[in-house]
Symmetry: C2
Subunit: 406 residues, 2 copies
Amino acid sequence: MPVRLAEPDTLLPVPGIRLGVARAGIRYPDRDDLVVMEVSEGCRCAAVFTTNAFSAAPVNLARLHLSEAAPRYLLINSGNANAGTGDRGLADAVACCRATAEHTACDVRNVLPFSTGVIGEPLPVQNIREAIPRALEQLQQSGWLQAARAIMTTDTVAKGSSRRFHVDREVITVTGIAKGAGMIRPDMATMLAFVATDARVQPDLLQASLQQTVNKSFNRITVDGDTSTNDACVLLATGASGVTEIDSPTHPAYAAFTEALDAVCRELAQAIVRDGEGAHRFVTVRVENGASEDECLAVAYAVAHSPLVKTALFAGDPNWGRILAAVGRAGVDGLDIAHVGIQLDDVSIVEHGARAHGYTEEQGQAVMKQDEITLRIQLGRGEQHATVWTTDLSYDYVRINAEYRT
Amino acid sequence: MPVRLAEPDTLLPVPGIRLGVARAGIRYPDRDDLVVMEVSEGCRCAAVFTTNAFSAAPVNLARLHLSEAAPRYLLINSGNANAGTGDRGLADAVACCRATAEHTACDVRNVLPFSTGVIGEPLPVQNIREAIPRALEQLQQSGWLQAARAIMTTDTVAKGSSRRFHVDREVITVTGIAKGAGMIRPDMATMLAFVATDARVQPDLLQASLQQTVNKSFNRITVDGDTSTNDACVLLATGASGVTEIDSPTHPAYAAFTEALDAVCRELAQAIVRDGEGAHRFVTVRVENGASEDECLAVAYAVAHSPLVKTALFAGDPNWGRILAAVGRAGVDGLDIAHVGIQLDDVSIVEHGARAHGYTEEQGQAVMKQDEITLRIQLGRGEQHATVWTTDLSYDYVRINAEYRT
């Protein structure tokens, strides 16, 4: 039950990028589950990966290949994460990359592998090998939406976003797709996002831009607090537009580029939360007036991860005591309750660390009936702030994650 | 649905301690909800309190009184936590202590207040005031079980434990009661434990003993990771036994004393988990071969708090991929997957970071059908270990916590 989320009408092609899909029969019958993304020669690539120590074989191999060569092909499969598969998993990922390289006459190191799906089962390499030429035959610039559908696991809606902006008389496009709905049934552990632009961007600046935008988007969402083993976000800059290389933050296109990149990544990140497992509500937790951004984030995550706050959100219960208790346990050194304030949208529920003067349960319940809620918290200690997006914790979350893998 | 938990048959009286209960009508009709515990002159008292920055008014007042005078009376109410109640909450707690002091001709600072129940509602001081003399009339050495029942909130079973040991020809008793089942419906936030002994213990050693035992018991349990605003554990040593003062770890009774104290606190702590909200299983998470106890604890809590691990436990699904993912995100610096092993009871499910050789789903499922499970994890980095106790995450947890407060 996604919260105000529909498949994108239009995903703008990005010159220099072509996508093809195929049915490899990895896990899901009768749907595409393999994507090949072709990247033009000279395309720059930035990437961030999961911080989980149990990073999956494709994550490790993609990191290695990226450090050795420029990517020409991204090979993405859904249905199997190729995680927790040991040495065999690594060999399987290499075999899939090699098959792609053979069909396209590039080096194996020019292929980056990505997998999402069940943990701990061997990758069906033969299925993937056979499907690769079919995906290559289908390569087209307008393949973004089909690719977004093919990388879904228990996502209920395909996720994509595009922005276009002008620099003098030239046009630059940023388009991205993502998948993820929590650590997904049955064992999935995967948020994947692929964003491309035809801007030409200096490599270090490209990586810095990606890190900055990820910290404001994918690194600010949580469904259940369970960091996955396969997370990856890739940013490709083909340089096919007519705009000169964006080589520093003072370049005339830099501001518009990062704005478009932020907008695409924020929309994709929020789409993952809106499609969160069992989600009934989309909740923005904004913590303000902290002494540092880190302490604002610590409070925001303590609130966003609290099972008690999340079940109250599910129930539509303006249970400020639970929010207050979560703020209190967030580990903010020397936090003074007397300065803490909390609002649900525009309704003040806590002032000076206690129930707000004149607040009535009816006011709070009216806000909590909505499917989108902003929860604002002031710490009264400084000027910093941070925002995270999350969902409620419902019966459906338990059902989805308690069902057997078989 | 408590997991293998029954009301204690016998709670041994502790010379120097008398308990009385009464119906104050704070929240629950037709049951006792107020306890007065009388402590003999010269009794030593150690205490630990919640680390939540939003500590409740009674916690703050008890801390203050303890620093100023030796306690003679503990006044404990259920049904209302007197938390998030600001200055009025503090004044209300003082008023209740003063009423107790007036009836017993002691100083207000000799009374320690404890409250458990709904957050954010004013304490019904008049009800409590009127009930205090009735509780005082009932004071008796054998009042432990009635007191354990009176401090329950959504607990389904009264929790208590006793141990007795001999030193030469003398006998020393340790008896304790506790309440708690998570952050409890509707807003509760409270684990309370009261343990008493007739040993005479040097005050600093008493506090150190309590801290040590709490770190091995109450600080090692988690139902939902939500630290409460009202947690408190009090250890009273009346000195009424004939044993000489335990004034150092080399005293002949020290080892037996701490062993009995550990046993009582562990039993109480485990009882809280067994009665955890919506609990179907009692799970021991033991992390071994870590480089430090802290990293073992970090891994144990990452696993015990993971909603994905907990829903798999509810489902009886031996989902080792989720356990492995939780281990991987626990923040252990430089953790090498290749050394990680995991067992469900005696069944090896993960070896060298991948599915164990010869492991079958049937073996794992056989263990997961049990209502008590031990999950052991080896990090392969050292000699340290740590254990925490937890429950599964069930529909009932969501139901209990999603119900409205009204």
